[in-house]
Symmetry: C2
Subunit: 305 residues, 2 copies
């Protein structure tokens, strides 16, 4: 699976992931009103607006990027209607040839993680029929429960040729609270990184593993250490743009071959038309603003690689 | 919210939580076949079977216990159909007066955690309408991202009088891999516990906080330390029964007032009819077997309090 991502990155020349994390406040009023007119001010109405918003952004950006990353929380808040919009978004992106990273950060004890792995990456047997639920290409996973909580995800990756990104060092301000605590001189995120390498060892796909890591762009010195520690691990890198990291901060996430990292931007792309820089597009052309933001981001990252 | 749980515990005299974690393999064949006949061997068919199975267990146990804990992964694996069964289960339990602990172990960066908090505990504004999605009474939360990842859940608890159980020390075999690592002589789970106490401090509801902790029953020496460290924190305790912990192992989770812990059992109750001990009930009376398993569990725990 990771080779498919690499091929897509090489084809688009853009290690850029569009974070499809729609908030209602990002969606232009005319889209919201059209959905509310049909479905009312309901969860169904919100989900319809999200889907229409996503679809247009995808239509304007799909050939520029290798992948998208819908954040499932943004859909889950609208209940099963929201999750239907998530599913529809995943399917539509895959039809366009985009790889989809389900950003769900799931993780539990073994048997429960197995159910999550089935939900998002695998197949479930119902009677004699094999069924799929969300069926994304990659999934983000939380490691707090240790190996037996992560192993079921790795097993499904092996069986179905899918990929993971395990949280190692996250981009948020409090990420250091536990992740930076040092045990015998080494921070927790390095210990987690060590395990991620171990979990990924028999999941190799070319020179990279299908078990990747989430490494926030907001802590570049730590990215540099992790890059050395995990030469065969792909990094999913949040934190660029709206969260404050610049292209220079991203450099340490990449290997010398220019590979090894895929950079996500959510708000900075999907709500680009709300920025002064892209205001000229106006709400009616929000998806063109997103397209321009993707082009600008790819150029910005390209300038440091 | 935690006072409502305590009242329910006092009323039922059973600090027992029924884990509604249905696997298709737990569901008697005649229930599966009836659902497959109507809906086919599909996700919809699986979800219907799960709902029928849950409903009967709830009907036979609701007046014996204070709360239930559906594990959302078991529903999520059947996609949006499964999540509709989750929602239906939550509503049905609440109608019976049961409190519902959504076991979702969500956790992310701030804005995303806020969306999860909305999804599971809060309300979301759609146009001018306030809508609710899953609307459980409590939610389990993963602390790996630190304070800014947990704070949005705490905020919703305050606004809506809901409760949390934050993962501190989990019951699974690998839980020690990261959670037991020591920082200046103190294991990570104690550092997390310290934060849970801090997060819960301005969320008090009587002598306990609405911010509780998940503390596995399988490590009783650690439970004893945590009980002392967190006297005003309610513990949600997994690991009894199928995972190996006995009533004696639970004792350290309780305070001297006999309160402070709610013990979950999933497989041991909902699949009781598959155990030799309850085999006499047979698959047709699986819910009566569950009822007996609840009574036996309550008596077992009562014997050590």
């Amino acid at each position: 699976m990771i080779q498919q991502l690499i091929q897509n990155i090489k084809k688009t020349k853009a290690p850029v992931c569009v974070g499809l994390d729609p908030m209602l406040s990002y969606i232009p009023e005319y889209i919201l009103q059209a959905s509310f007119k049909t479905f009312g001010e309901t969860l169904e109405g919100a989900a319809d607006a999200i889907w229409n918003f996503n679809k247009e952004i995808i239509d304007y950006t799909w050939e520029l990027v290798p992948c998208v990353k819908p954040q499932i929380a943004m859909y889950e808040q609208f209940g099963t209607w929201g999750l239907l919009a998530y599913e529809k978004t995943v399917r539509y992106c895959q039809e366009k040839g985009l790889l989809v990273i389900g950003d769900a950060k799931r993780g539990d004890i073994g048997s429960t993680s197995a159910a999550y792995a089935t939900a998002h990456l695998g197949k479930v047997m119902v009677g004699n029929a094999l069924c799929t639920a969300f069926n994304t290409d990659f999934l983000t996973v939380n490691p707090y429960l240790g190996t037996d909580g992560v192993k079921p995800f790795v097993d499904v990756c092996k069986a179905e040729d899918k990929g993971l990104f395990v949280l190692v060092k996250t981009s948020n301000p409090s990420s250091g609270e536990f992740q930076d605590k040092t045990f015998e001189g080494r921070p927790l995120y390095e210990l987690v990184a060590e395990k991620v390498v171990e979990w990924g060892r028999d999941c190799m796909d070319g020179s990279y593993s299908n078990v990747g890591a989430v490494v926030g762009a907001t802590y570049p010195e730590m990215s540099a250490v992790l890059r050395k520690q995990m030469p065969h691990t792909y990094f999913l890198v949040p934190g660029y743009g709206a969260q404050g990291a610049t292209a220079k901060d991203l450099k340490p996430c990449f290997n010398e071959d220019g590979l090894g990292a895929i950079i996500n931007s959510s708000r900075g792309i999907i709500a680009a038309y709300k920025q002064e820089k892209y205001a000229k597009f106006g709400p009616e052309h929000f998806a063109e603003a997103s397209r321009q933001a993707v082009l600008d981001m790819a150029a910005d990252i390209g300038s440091v690689l």
